[in-house]
Symmetry: D4
Subunit: 251 residues, 8 copies
Amino acid sequence: MNSDIRALLEGIQQGTVTVDEALLQLKQQPFEDIGYAKVDMHRKLRQGAGEVIYGAGKTAQQIIGILTAMASHGQKNVLITRLDDEKAAEVKAVHPITYYPEARIGILGQMEPPHGMGTIVVATGGTSDVPVAEEAALTAQFLGNEVLRLYDVGVAGIHRLLSHSAELMSASVIIAIAGMEGALASVIGGLVDCPVIAVPTSVGYGAAFGGIAALLSMLNSCASGTAVVNIDNGFGAGYMASTINHMEAKH
Amino acid sequence: MNSDIRALLEGIQQGTVTVDEALLQLKQQPFEDIGYAKVDMHRKLRQGAGEVIYGAGKTAQQIIGILTAMASHGQKNVLITRLDDEKAAEVKAVHPITYYPEARIGILGQMEPPHGMGTIVVATGGTSDVPVAEEAALTAQFLGNEVLRLYDVGVAGIHRLLSHSAELMSASVIIAIAGMEGALASVIGGLVDCPVIAVPTSVGYGAAFGGIAALLSMLNSCASGTAVVNIDNGFGAGYMASTINHMEAKH
Amino acid sequence: MNSDIRALLEGIQQGTVTVDEALLQLKQQPFEDIGYAKVDMHRKLRQGAGEVIYGAGKTAQQIIGILTAMASHGQKNVLITRLDDEKAAEVKAVHPITYYPEARIGILGQMEPPHGMGTIVVATGGTSDVPVAEEAALTAQFLGNEVLRLYDVGVAGIHRLLSHSAELMSASVIIAIAGMEGALASVIGGLVDCPVIAVPTSVGYGAAFGGIAALLSMLNSCASGTAVVNIDNGFGAGYMASTINHMEAKH
Amino acid sequence: MNSDIRALLEGIQQGTVTVDEALLQLKQQPFEDIGYAKVDMHRKLRQGAGEVIYGAGKTAQQIIGILTAMASHGQKNVLITRLDDEKAAEVKAVHPITYYPEARIGILGQMEPPHGMGTIVVATGGTSDVPVAEEAALTAQFLGNEVLRLYDVGVAGIHRLLSHSAELMSASVIIAIAGMEGALASVIGGLVDCPVIAVPTSVGYGAAFGGIAALLSMLNSCASGTAVVNIDNGFGAGYMASTINHMEAKH
Amino acid sequence: MNSDIRALLEGIQQGTVTVDEALLQLKQQPFEDIGYAKVDMHRKLRQGAGEVIYGAGKTAQQIIGILTAMASHGQKNVLITRLDDEKAAEVKAVHPITYYPEARIGILGQMEPPHGMGTIVVATGGTSDVPVAEEAALTAQFLGNEVLRLYDVGVAGIHRLLSHSAELMSASVIIAIAGMEGALASVIGGLVDCPVIAVPTSVGYGAAFGGIAALLSMLNSCASGTAVVNIDNGFGAGYMASTINHMEAKH
Amino acid sequence: MNSDIRALLEGIQQGTVTVDEALLQLKQQPFEDIGYAKVDMHRKLRQGAGEVIYGAGKTAQQIIGILTAMASHGQKNVLITRLDDEKAAEVKAVHPITYYPEARIGILGQMEPPHGMGTIVVATGGTSDVPVAEEAALTAQFLGNEVLRLYDVGVAGIHRLLSHSAELMSASVIIAIAGMEGALASVIGGLVDCPVIAVPTSVGYGAAFGGIAALLSMLNSCASGTAVVNIDNGFGAGYMASTINHMEAKH
Amino acid sequence: MNSDIRALLEGIQQGTVTVDEALLQLKQQPFEDIGYAKVDMHRKLRQGAGEVIYGAGKTAQQIIGILTAMASHGQKNVLITRLDDEKAAEVKAVHPITYYPEARIGILGQMEPPHGMGTIVVATGGTSDVPVAEEAALTAQFLGNEVLRLYDVGVAGIHRLLSHSAELMSASVIIAIAGMEGALASVIGGLVDCPVIAVPTSVGYGAAFGGIAALLSMLNSCASGTAVVNIDNGFGAGYMASTINHMEAKH
Amino acid sequence: MNSDIRALLEGIQQGTVTVDEALLQLKQQPFEDIGYAKVDMHRKLRQGAGEVIYGAGKTAQQIIGILTAMASHGQKNVLITRLDDEKAAEVKAVHPITYYPEARIGILGQMEPPHGMGTIVVATGGTSDVPVAEEAALTAQFLGNEVLRLYDVGVAGIHRLLSHSAELMSASVIIAIAGMEGALASVIGGLVDCPVIAVPTSVGYGAAFGGIAALLSMLNSCASGTAVVNIDNGFGAGYMASTINHMEAKH
């Protein structure tokens, strides 16, 4: 934001903008207010990422409204997360999104072609973790990353994981997704030297407590080089992995 | 207890005991009441195990009193758990116990020579888990088991564990002890086909929550053939493992 | 796994396998990858147990796919847990499973004839615990164990439990299943000298907290020789009990 | 309080008290304000019990001040709970209290002679529960009850408890005190038909969570006729039991 | 139970029963085993109360089966708790129960005429607590108690409660039922000198946490003479209150 | 209440009311008892606010009954919270309420014209917090306050919030509503010098734990001048803000 | 901050400040960086309050350093909270603070003379809550408020509270401080029509859980016009109350 | 590990190693077993990092033993975390470590010269977070990173943070460290486009719950590109940041 402020200040100094215009601009420019939402129009510039709508707490009409506002500002590629089947259908009737039901993701426009530092591996402990994994994988693909999926490689059958050590070791970033005891992140973290993003899932029952067991397990991982996102937060993991995978582009 | 009741009933029927004698016997025989404790005198017969004193909530004087009562009934071998240094010194002044400070265990008399089905492996994730492991190992030895210690084989360096697969696979029972994320039990459970007793420890900080993270992790283990005891309960794991390891003696 | 590696290494030394073949074999042999799952084909050999599918997080189509992959490798007997009525019907249309609705278990093929060390007793505190108990009992039967059911023998009417002391005392392993205050495991644990597997259930309301009260109660049991599995984990208890009951077969 | 209000109102009506006097009386009479405490002077009349000081959050000087204020109003018998050794010594230097270190109770004056409906039985699961039990027992004795102590009768050795069934069954009220899994209350509750007051204790470690396990266990007791007080609240249990035991005196 | 054992023992001594008959009798007499339940037939004698079925975890068919077994042993009056509308209709088709939908209680046979020491007051903090209150009130009435209902007298409008001080002060036992902050029990406990049974309810939202806030509040009540039952456990409170209210009948 | 008591006492003194009349008046006047509820008729006078019905735990019939009782006492303006669509329709058939579905609020009669000290700003972190915000805003408007809504100004895009600093700084009271990490209250609290009422919402998933994350965050706010209400308690925040905003009217 | 920005912008426009100077000013002006702390120098202007140092996580040397930095900017009156005896002595050796040991508060300079809208009442449930109450009271006095202390007026003896209704009803703001069950806030909230700030304290034991019971109780208060601060946060309550009490000064 | 296995396999094929030698090598090479620990000697190669000893659960003698074992394998640079003053002194007497008391870190040998992609910014919310921040900063420096410290820039004074936006925006990775409400991570995450590692600290009191409030807040951050490590885990954050900052070295 600093550079924006500087530009504005210089405009004032040079007489090209008045003080009131500047104040106005500070207030109106970066987003459009559509009542129930302030739609961010410059986030791509400011944060280096395409636009994302968190679909969970919004009605289909609200999502459509936000998409419309974005479209009017030229935003062509939008990722909508936590979008259930019904809302997806409603949105699709207005905006031409592609819908991925397992990941509950809708995508308007195109995925960016891969341009990161390397491959992001998305690994899961079991089959039940796949929906969260798909959310992570599609998010990373949308943001321009090569993605390799390794599903059902949980630690209770360690040979399944070890047989993929070559893929793990050549990854740029690894997203380790597991519910129940969430040990996958620790075992992978002990094998590789790239950053590992751990995603606990709400898979399991009883003392899994909706993902708390896996979350605590991952936070306490004795493997260095691991950090954790919220339970079931495939999007956050995919986004974080992409940010890491695109670091060199920054300099 | 059934056989005791039957014996008593038959005594009444045969006229060798009166009804009042029988009732009296039911009340007095199995333990001695020393006020603050009811000292069990027949537990070895009834449960097939040597006598154990849980030292945590008792004063040194109370422990001495219980040992004295046991001695007067001919109990020669007693295991005292959770015995801190000071109490141990006080007890030692009266009863000739051997004290193991790391395990906080005192033993009166002898350990039984090994006579179980096989070897009990006691494995830990890290160095900090060793005190709990020693409590488990000494308990198992006291109860007549061969014990093999494998310490600091945590999953973040999986090769350390895998290099011991031979010992793990030939074990009769395995006690897997770990704090932090507690993944050791799952990984071991996935490698072997013998019963695994998992012991979470209070090792760690922050979101380890005094062992809760490891406890939940172990309860949610996706490896079959695993069961869990209380946090830091080395004694319970050693006892359970011994019970399993002595099964064939029963028939 | 050690012996597999040794065999492979010797093959290389003897020139019967090349290095690349060996690496390939390490990667492909132990399971078949069907995308959403890595189907374990050698677990019976490695772990001494029949194959099991955890049905909870899988669609009927995924379960069918796994069964088909197993069938193509000659696996005839498969246990499917947490299988609800609807999925069971879908699966049944393709694979001839027997479905047990109360236990939510489907079984493909045969139960193994009993060949363990003795009888496994499955005891419950109340009528509401029966579904979990049936999951445990059927699992144990599937794995080749004699099972005796003692239902509704909770501690609030201790005479109901004591009247079965003969059965309890002659058991090889006991599975104690209870919700609410979960005291059953402690009382049984104090009566017998065989291993006791405690299963907390989510039966109850209010401060039962979905089984937490029973879980904590069982973890804190003052009876030695007791270990605990996850809330409602009848399968885990049955599997663990079977593992213990088959120990002598190992030597 | 209703009768006090009526008396006051009638006094106004009869002209014996003015309105301002009445308001003043309402404000000043029932307690004396000594700054850090409002010392209740009429509680014995209003609630039918001797005076009690909860010692935990108060300094020795504050306790002495309250005792002095009570003495100046003629209160001769006072029970002070949660009084540690040091404070007890300080208080004793001013007021002639009798101090019970195990129960951390100080008593000024006399215990009332027993005059309740029957005997209150105080039972504990183990030796470590005795301090809480003594707090309960002494409270009940102070309030005029016959008390029978049954210590170390935990459910893991059910014969110890059953051998006392005669005493249990003839009790007027039973206080069941236990830590760890807290099953004592349920088993006793299933044997008797008198009210049972359950007291969880903070005895135990790990998943005992400072008494939470026992608390939840007791709240979920499947035995009817049981109610629970706070963890380690021996005083509350003794008071409640006394209230119940003195019911007939009310009519 | 002691007296039963003595009777049996004397029978053996006198030759009227054989040892095997005695053992058989010990096993079969006190309940009937109908597979999914052990129906207690002598509980009225042993515990001084009519029979109760906890309906929550049972199917309508199971409840009918238990009622039939009871009927065949002459039990005429049965209380069924946690009975929802559908099950009630199914049961009613076989056994002539009276159903109270708000309290979710079904009663077979008659309520006992009041014969306790005095009146049980059932007070609630709000209107939403009424279903739990009705469970408590009907239970107490079924067990032979006079009941007075005081609903919606929560502490946020303290005058509503104070206006009923006469009824509160003349009660034999008070059941204080409240959700949210659960302060009702403390305020009532400070006004009266009879036993108070506190029932937290799951009424509320957010940080009410399904009744935990009220439960903790009641456990920490600074008013003496109060004990607590499980969240929403109207039955338990009614039963406990009845036990207390019938104490004099015992002597 | 003091002034009522004084008036009553003076009436007695002057002979205009008898003692029994006074006692009767104390009991009957302030509310009407309609069985399931004690309808407060004088709360407006006593607390300075219009009447409110908490609709959550009440049936439509109960709400109608309370409204009818209020109407018969001349209460014209009533706010009903937590009123779902179905109940609203039932109520509307009898009493002419205006229903706001997003806020789940029904209003009988008129909103009071604004007469407070200034404007109440209602700010939310996201779009999903709007229903709670509307509950707060409508409550404040009902109670006679000017309200300004600032929705979707969460801290992850701090410029959206900063662009509204003028409105924030001229507010009389600010209600900061946010789920997830709940940081909005701290950031606003650091910018302004008026009281801030923080409302955590149950928006979010996983480790949001139904609003606990936001609740804890807000309770730990390092910004002074902030206090917190229950999760999703828009009504409580609106009421508290109105109380603050009307302070000068008191003197 | 808006007005600062505007002033700066106008300065640029008028040529009195350059762009780089403005940016520099934005960065350096509002605080002084002394390494471990950024000492706020303009908070009084920006937030309308004197300066406060939270002493808990700081060493005596750090506190001294901050005071010195403040002094060099002309700040004469500073409140230091959570200052223990030892640190207070060290600080006093350098800066002439007045230390209040019970409240753990140090004050440099003067308290402001009272200039708010009315009196702030600080009420506690018991004697043990007094330290938190003194923190609140001294904070409010430091910030220029008249304070009235009402200590030990807990709800278990409701007459003690009611006898002070006159003081409660004439308060401008009330701070209700209580541990254990925390009911004080609800009862006060039901009596008065001014804002009530509730402060849970960590007083109590067992299920008080270090103040959680009181915290939840207060968050769920059914009395409107109440908001809550963190456990033991006397400072926060005093600050919030002062902010409310000084509202009229703003317009 | 794959490449090691391949090398070993090729050795066997070429006849340079025998099968038994290979198995031996697999077991002995990667670590040295010194009883209480398996000292990893090749981790630098395998994971790309210097060696680290977690000092918390180890005695000074154990740490010395591990350092000695490392030294004998040529490891010159070792980082010891969670090393308190006393242990540091004992270790220093044998191995020439440099000790950083605030960070509780000891370093044997040299810090690596910076060679990462850019600067790692370490920011804290307050002064009390500095010890954790120093652990993070020193870890990152030890592993060869340029580090910039920004301490006491918490969100309650947002201008302190905003004044550093230039440094934040030019960072390669940011470590955001905060206790209490932990909002720092979200606000920073919303300003920058580089990866943010959030570290909750146990700073605070009451409902901070030893860091849980900050942990939950950070897990629920609505700012994308953020991941979290354990409470107070400065080391983990520094290590993760270094791993990210050295990514380009990998290709």
